[in-house]
Symmetry: C2
């Protein structure tokens, strides 16, 4: 680990107008962000509520983020034994801040909880995920549909057998 | 409907090496296609097996496709009453064949079964889906995670209430 990587601080992002404004710089801006904005406007959530987003600030600017959500064991279709796991999505580093280890720092943070992780990769990012220790699952159409799932298993965890 | 649109023929695609070769021209080539290729190579599926893909040929060339899969009612988290529905993904028209109504023809075909349809849109395609009569759902993180779901409801069908 280089000095630069050691200094990286992962923060749980607050849902407020400032954060949502920063989210607009990320490519994967979608219904999740729009829904947060609506909830803020309608006072369904408070300014500064905790979100499923974690991020890295660089000189007061949000430059990397991911969304992380704990799924209940009863919905686990991937891991053996069946267990609580994380869904990780919207991992993204702004163009000018890539290749500094920010993506890796976020993934390492997610791994640090010791739970298995599932993500849905774009084909171009497969190499990154493999470097992070993620593996491809056997594609099961009923379960995976339009996704390209990649998973990370902590020690002692393996994959469920699929029907296909 | 113009003459051109009337003439469009939707075909259920066969899984064989020729089809898989044509799939390589589409952007959304992923684990689903790789898994089909592997199954063919290992003789798990036969050449000419029926696939979840439907497509449109133009002068013997596959120019548009979608994947369509019937989900069992017990997995339905979107529609009211809870029912069997279609998941639609990988709707794509090759660049030189866009704006000829091929995308609409595929969606109309999917609608013709009379079952509700769910798709996961990219933000840029939202306008297209709205023109096709699809609507945004209330984002529910536990259900939707990294997706941007859009749904089409036939008459008499509405949306389930979410917790959020």
């Amino acid at each position: 680990m280089t000095k630069e990587e050691e200094a990286v601080k992962i923060e749980r992002l607050k849902v407020n107008y400032k954060t949502l404004e920063e989210f607009k710089k990320f490519k994967e801006y979608g219904i999740q962000e729009l829904s947060m904005l609506e909830d803020l406007q309608e006072n369904i959530i408070e300014d500064n509520s905790e979100s499923p987003f974690y991020g890295i600030y660089f000189a007061d600017k949000l430059v990397a983020r991911m969304s992380l959500y704990q799924k209940d064991a009863k919905y686990d279709l991937y891991f053996n034994p069946q267990q609580t796991y994380f869904e990780l999505w919207k991992l993204e580093v702004l163009p000018n801040y890539q290749f500094k280890g920010f993506g890796k720092a976020l993934v390492d943070f997610a791994k640090s909880f010791g739970l298995p992780i599932k993500t849905n990769s774009r084909m171009k990012s497969k190499e990154f995920w493999e470097k992070m220790g993620f593996q491809t699952v056997d594609y099961d159409m009923n379960r995976d549909l339009g996704q390209n799932p990649l998973v990370w298993c902590p020690e002692g965890v393996s994959l469920q057998k699929t029907n296909s």
